[in-house]
């Protein structure tokens, strides 16, 4: 058989198999060339910059480059006793060079991050170093300030030798490397980041839950009503979906403020006293309410598109077999909607976990999320490497959720409206 198939030739005298493979390859290349422009564009402007964030987040070359001779001479120093004369000489030379280039300020900031107290002794050293005599730098430097004679400070300098560091990631989880190189947590009252991570998860989880509880009944109603009514009601879902996020946030700011419509209503029905209006904005409540309303359409749409495909005869069959409406719903209808629930929850959870605008406007101090912290470090403290590290930690979380979802339900079930 195989010899016969090999003999089938095309009109050009090339075996059919070869010719087919060639055509196949040509098609593959053609398809790939169509995708190539966008792929290339995204790789350059988007995927590589995310890689750049990774480099930035572990990058610690700044100090390494500022004190090259010092770190070279420190290689043989075990860190138990005071470093030898070469180290002092190398440090003196490096430092003089930095002073000439006016970069010693940066060094003192960086070293102060590692150990408090560097700022003042570096300033003092700069002043005194002008009058240093050649040779015996160890004694001259140690005489500047008693901390220069403290081996702890030299160890702190040595810790900055590696060009890469995990310290930004540790800081993101409120941990740091202590003097012995062990990873420990910061004091309990200074663990701000853990609080933020937990709050982000908590808010994303409850917003998803609230969205699910509210979206399920209305998606069901939309899917079961006759077309002419459901189209009308669908507008209530789609109009917020297409409306600017800032407009929707603005409307919540108007509604929830102390003299706002919701508070007016509460006063009118006598729920609260006029002089005791509750603060509903600039705290967690504001974040919850606004985010739930804003993300609700993202839950309704996938649920609706799944429910639309469920035939009503299934429910009738269940009932005719003796199931009460509740049992039929629970045993027949609900399991069929699980792909929609999965898609909706995934979408809402992932959108919620990275939310920035709404919490920043209505969240106040107690309702802000991890994204706000990232933006804060990007714009205010300019600690871009820390912002990168936090961003990548968030991204890792999001990708993990996607991966789990893909294993459980399959990513192809996501639809857009």
């Amino acid at each position: 058989m195989s010899s016969e198939t090999r003999q089938i030739l095309t009109t050009d005298g090339i075996p059919l198999e070869v010719s087919l493979k060639k055509a196949e390859r040509k098609n593959k290349i053609k398809a790939f060339l169509l995708v190539a422009p966008l792929l290339l564009f995204l790789l350059i402007t988007y995927i590589f910059p995310i890689g750049d964030m990774l480099l930035r987040s572990v990058d610690d070359k700044m100090v390494t480059e500022m004190l090259p001779k010092t770190f070279k001479s420190m290689e043989d120093w075990d860190g138990n006793e005071m470093p030898p004369e070469e180290v002092f000489e190398a440090f003196y030379l490096d430092f003089q060079k930095l002073v000439e280039e006016k970069r010693d300020g940066k060094l003192s900031t960086q070293l102060n991050y590692t150990k408090n107290g560097f700022k003042s002794i570096l300033k003092k050293l700069r002043r005194k170093a002008k009058n240093f005599e050649e040779g015996n730098y160890k004694e001259q430097i140690m005489a500047v300030h008693k901390r220069w004679a403290d081996v702890e400070y030299w160890r702190a300098i040595k810790r900055r030798a590696p060009a890469f560091t995990s310290s930004k990631y540790l800081k993101g989880m409120d941990m740091y490397k202590n003097e012995e190189g062990k990873i420990v947590s910061v004091k309990e009252d200074r663990r701000i980041h853990r609080v933020l991570w937990l709050r982000t998860l908590e808010i994303a989880f409850f917003v998803t839950l609230l969205c699910f509880l509210m979206a399920y009944p209305i998606a069901h109603l939309l899917a079961t009503l006759p077309m002419k009514y459901s189209n009308l009601l669908m507008i209530c879902v789609l109009l917020p979906f297409w409306t600017s996020l800032l407009v929707r946030t603005a409307s919540w700011m108007i509604l929830l403020q102390q003299q706002g419509v919701v508070n007016d209503f509460f006063v009118m029905i006598g729920l609260v006293a006029d002089d005791n209006r509750p603060e509903m904005m600039y705290n967690k409540t504001g974040t919850y309410v606004a985010m739930t309303q804003i993300l609700l359409p993202f839950m309704v749409l996938p649920l609706y598109s799944v429910m639309k495909t469920i035939s009503p005869s299934l429910m009738r069959a269940g009932k005719s077999l003796g199931g009460t409406p509740f049992v039929t719903f629970w045993k027949v209808y609900f399991p069929l909607t699980i792909p929609g629930i999965g898609a909706g929850c995934l979408l809402v959870f992932i959108l919620a976990i990275g939310y920035y605008i709404t919490p920043a406007l209505v969240g106040g101090a107690s309702g802000t999320l991890i994204s706000n912290q990232i933006a804060f470090h990007m714009k205010s403290t300019l600690d871009w490497s820390f912002a990168s590290a936090m961003g990548l930690m968030l991204l890792a979380g999001v990708l993990a959720i996607y991966w789990i979802y893909n294993k459980l339900v399959g990513i192809d079930n996501i639809k857009l409206g």
Binding site: L221, G260, K308, A375
Partner: protein, 284 residues
């Protein structure tokens, strides 16, 4: 939703509870948008209903905030609107062009590594915006495109293409490839086939993807906050600054205009979706 006469009382109660819950949720969804309309006609400088408004006194309503929006001194809205439209239009064109071509390639059954490439192409939609913002900012700063229109347009193309890729691949999934083969067998070259046969058939998908891209760009604030300088201010940036600093009713006038715009977009998108379903032979 009338119930049959034989319905037992407790199911009847349950049914009306269900309708009541649904009504509340619909109210929760749509009502916040409508609070903006009346307040944007407020004659006073407050963002709550004045006594006059509650009594429907005509003097309590005015168009002063709309006038302020258009003619106000040192007013940023004109520049912002111009920038927003320029950026959104170019970003939409770019996204539609790149996205449609890529979707054509992705829908080919010869496409190698389809899953991986699809994941890469739609990643800007999956990655939280704040992270995209940081990454794009790093790129634009290095490329010298920060605080330029070009930079913002490129950023919005990145964010807009996934929507075009998704909608166009969805349209192409119901596409009958025998019509393009028929065109080729009749002697049409690939470009001609695409322009005369494929494009008219997938056009609803392309346009609705374009609408998504337009809205994404027009409403985008996180990435623009990182990228924009004073010259590149957009409507969302102005709203963001306004909402953070002083809530002036002018913002509500702008918001009303934006709601009207989104209503128009919604209607267009819905008409397109129905047309597309009809063309693809999906009858519900």
């Amino acid at each position: 939703m009338a119930l049959p006469k034989y319905t037992e009382p407790h199911y009847r109660i349950w049914h009306y509870t269900y309708i009541f819950i649904c009504t509340c949720v619909f109210f929760f969804l749509i009502a916040p948008l409508f609070v903006i309309f009346p307040l944007s006609f407020n004659a006073e400088e407050f963002l709550s209903f004045s006594e006059g408004m509650k009594n429907l006194d005509p003097d309590a309503f005015s168009l002063r905030w709309y006038k302020d929006m258009i003619y106000g001194t040192k007013n940023p809205w004109g520049l912002a609107a111009k920038n927003s439209f320029i950026i959104a239009i170019f970003a939409t064109l770019g996204s539609v062009l790149l996205g449609t071509v890529a979707a054509l390639g992705l829908s080919s059954r010869h496409m190698p590594y389809k899953g991986l490439i699809m994941a890469t192409l739609i990643s800007p939609m999956i990655v939280p915006l704040i992270i995209s913002g940081v990454a794009i900012f790093f790129f634009m700063a290095k490329a010298g495109l920060a605080a330029t229109h070009t930079g913002i347009i490129l950023a919005h193309i990145i964010l807009g293409t996934p929507f075009v890729v998704i909608t166009v691949t969805a349209t192409l999934s119901g596409f009958d490839h025998s019509v393009t083969r028929a065109a080729s067998s009749l002697g049409s070259d690939p470009v001609n086939t695409f322009m005369k046969i494929t494009l008219p058939l997938i056009l609803p998908g392309v346009i609705s993807g374009g609408l998504f891209a337009f809205v994404t760009s027009f409403d985008e604030v996180v990435v623009v906050l990182f990228l924009a300088g004073l010259e590149n201010t957009t409507i969302p940036i102005q709203m963001w600054t306004g909402l953070r600093e002083q809530l002036s009713p002018t913002i509500l006038a702008v918001a009303t205009c934006l709601i009207i715009l989104s209503t128009l977009i919604l209607v267009t998108a819905e008409l397109l979706r129905r047309r597309s379903e009809r063309l693809r032979g999906i009858n519900r």
